[in-house]
Symmetry: none
Subunit: 244 residues, 4 copies
């Protein structure tokens, strides 16, 4: 294992760095990272010019990783019209089976409607609540939350961090949520002139509420707490975009 750019070691270093930076911030020591990765300090510096380079690479890697996990975790429960129930950890990851659109038909939600409205917005609220719970779980997971805190902490010192960075809520938004709103609009369930905006609003408010409640991912939130937040936020959005 000499003489050839060991990709394995590079990965080990990156993993160790990610863990260290997420745990201790930028002040994590290169010594510690090297030790955890099981390599010499110089090896770290051969792969990454300096600490800052290593830091940015680690953040980028963490983003990729968490984005992947997140997307699969938060994939819409794919509710069909009749059965709107969360088939749980259905990580389809590939060939995402077009998330179930909110059909116009009478939504016999298998859960009591969160709001007090009549059909059919209630079905949308319910689906959004389910989606929201998943998004919350992902966004408040230790890793994602730590990445978010780290980014904010260092955005002043490393402006590159703001490139390709929204708020840690984007991954959820771009892919699935906007599509869901569009389908709701197409189905006449909601009156959503700009699905992307609606998706962003839902995600931002949802995640912000979750972050504040959990001290930015530092304190655990019970399932009930997450459900309440998701339901409340879904309620707001559905109210706002309910057809006149």
């Amino acid at each position: 294992m000499t003489g050839v750019p060991s990709q394995a070691k590079r990965r080990a270093i990156l993993e160790a760095a990610t863990e260290a930076f997420l745990h201790s911030g930028y002040s994590a020591s290169v010594d510690e990272i090297a030790a955890v990765a099981g390599v010499g300090k110089q090896t770290v510096y051969r792969h990454f010019r300096d600490k800052q380079t290593l830091f940015l690479a680690a953040v980028a890697a963490a983003r990729t990783t968490t984005a992947e996990q997140t997307l699969t975790a938060a994939s819409p429960p794919t509710t069909g019209p009749p059965t709107a129930s969360r088939p749980t950890a259905s990580r389809p990851t590939a060939g995402r089976p077009a998330a179930g659109p909110p059909t116009a038909g009478p939504a016999t939600a298998d859960r009591p409607a969160a709001g007090d409205w009549v059909f059919p917005s209630g079905a949308a609220a319910e689906t959004l609540t389910l989606l929201g719970e998943q998004i919350l779980a992902a966004a408040l997971s230790p890793t994602v939350a730590a990445l978010h805190r780290l980014t904010i902490a260092e955005i002043g010192n490393h402006p590159e961090l703001s490139d390709h960075w929204g708020d840690g809520a984007e991954p959820f938004v771009d892919q699935e949520l906007a599509g869901y709103f569009r389908r709701c609009a197409d189905a006449g369930l909601l009156d959503v002139p700009d699905p992307a905006r609606a998706a962003r609003q839902f995600a931002y408010l949802l995640v912000t509420e979750g972050r504040v409640a959990s001290a930015y991912g530092t304190k655990h939130l019970t399932t009930d707490q997450r459900h309440a937040i998701a339901a409340e936020t879904a309620d707001l959005i559905v109210r706002a975009y309910r057809p006149a």
Copy 2:
């Protein structure tokens, strides 16, 4: 300077520490703080047991300071129909076209309605937009934004930071915004079952949008950008709570 820990020096230390921590994070050096405060290092340690204690005190002081500034800056430029609230030092930020209060009568807004609804929600949207612009300006001010970033950065290492901490958006919410929503509800302009919740939702979404757009206060936002965010958020809230 003769035997009793001078309060003036304490204040000087606290000010220097606040500035240093806000600027450089927890890694700001005690040396620098003592130098800026114009005292010896030992004096710092006589007033504050160690760096962590100094840090927490500085953050607490910064919160008090910014909360004060914030409240006066973001006080609603106006009042509700029946009761005028806190006519304090509401720095109108120069010629700002005295925001319309949620009047019950036909709101001849001196500005084109942001939305496309009929009366009188439009007036509320407009007022909320104005309020939102002020809130945004305050929340994205260098000091407030830095305090927010610092808190998030260190919340993992100093859990005490989460005590008495919402999201940096609370001050706006608690005092003024909730009252405004209540008055709107009382006046029949909006249908707001829980004014505090509405206030929180408005503030959270507003500030989050502003933070994301400005890289957490790191990049400047133009007045137009801030206006667009405020208007969009106000639109959402007013839509959501518009009377059925």
Copy 3:
């Protein structure tokens, strides 16, 4: 490149090492040298036992190279009356009025006599001035000057450096200068009991003046400055060895 230490690589390493050491001193890194030479580090160590060995070899190589360049550059632009010596590539430095050889006859110098003496010492002074200018240009060239500084810098740590080392002024002296003085003596122009000594004195004083004036080759000297130094030194020597 298949089993025998390639001579081409050795030369490349030596060249890279010379450049690096001349530029950065002994602290130049082996890494950098290997990189510039386009070889692996191990290859360097296969050709040279360790850094010190490489260093000494590089210095030796640089001496050979610069001595060659120097001799051709500083070859006397002229010859003595009886025997013409090596009229080689005597770069006349542009329009320089072909230096007068020490002719025995009444020297109708094509230049006004630098000093105020009568014939024929004036001719010798002029020729020495021309020679001196060339010697100066060579001795203060970036490479030669750097080699000189490097040698002095490391002579304490690597005593081998003083073997075969005079002062970087020897090459001029040994070959050409002494011969010139001898010819002058033979021609009766000067009274030089020990031509080698005279050559050494001229060269040492000339080069020392040039080095001091140029901060040891670190600052550029104009042609005029070099001319003044050469003229002054030639004047001294010719005065000292003028026939009684």
Copy 4:
């Protein structure tokens, strides 16, 4: 010994640094310097911003020190007959065997004439030889030689070194030598149009010969060797400036 800028420690650091730099060059370690000075590393950095600052300060200090020693050591052993010059603090360094002044009258030199000329230049040659021996001893002393080597070694990296720097030979020249030549001229012993130039030429050539012979102060020179160099150089100068 706290709380007050200890000048004693500063001096100790400077001394240690001077010794270390003179001995090992710029690569001497700050650790070692601090250890030798008997202080902590941080104390070094409190007194001197960084290594370069310390280095330059050490060189400056060494120059001052050696210049002082040098001037007293090389002070002209005596004065001229008519005009006693520099009655100043010419610490005669103990019973120096009153060197022959350039007497105008028939110079009954208390030493056999070094050359083979007639009077009175011979007296000047002898005195210059004596002076030259002292200059040589000073210039080749371990400390002065090391300082010279160090300066040349680092002049490329620290251009400030060339400020206030001639060649390490100036101190001798400026003060005493030029005066001596002037007195010789006044007395009609020598024909020296520019005493300062003569002094410089004598000193430069003398010291350069000494440096080359001693491998830049690295190898010891016997008294005889130094005498020979001084005599030879004095001979050249006196020849050059002998009255026509």
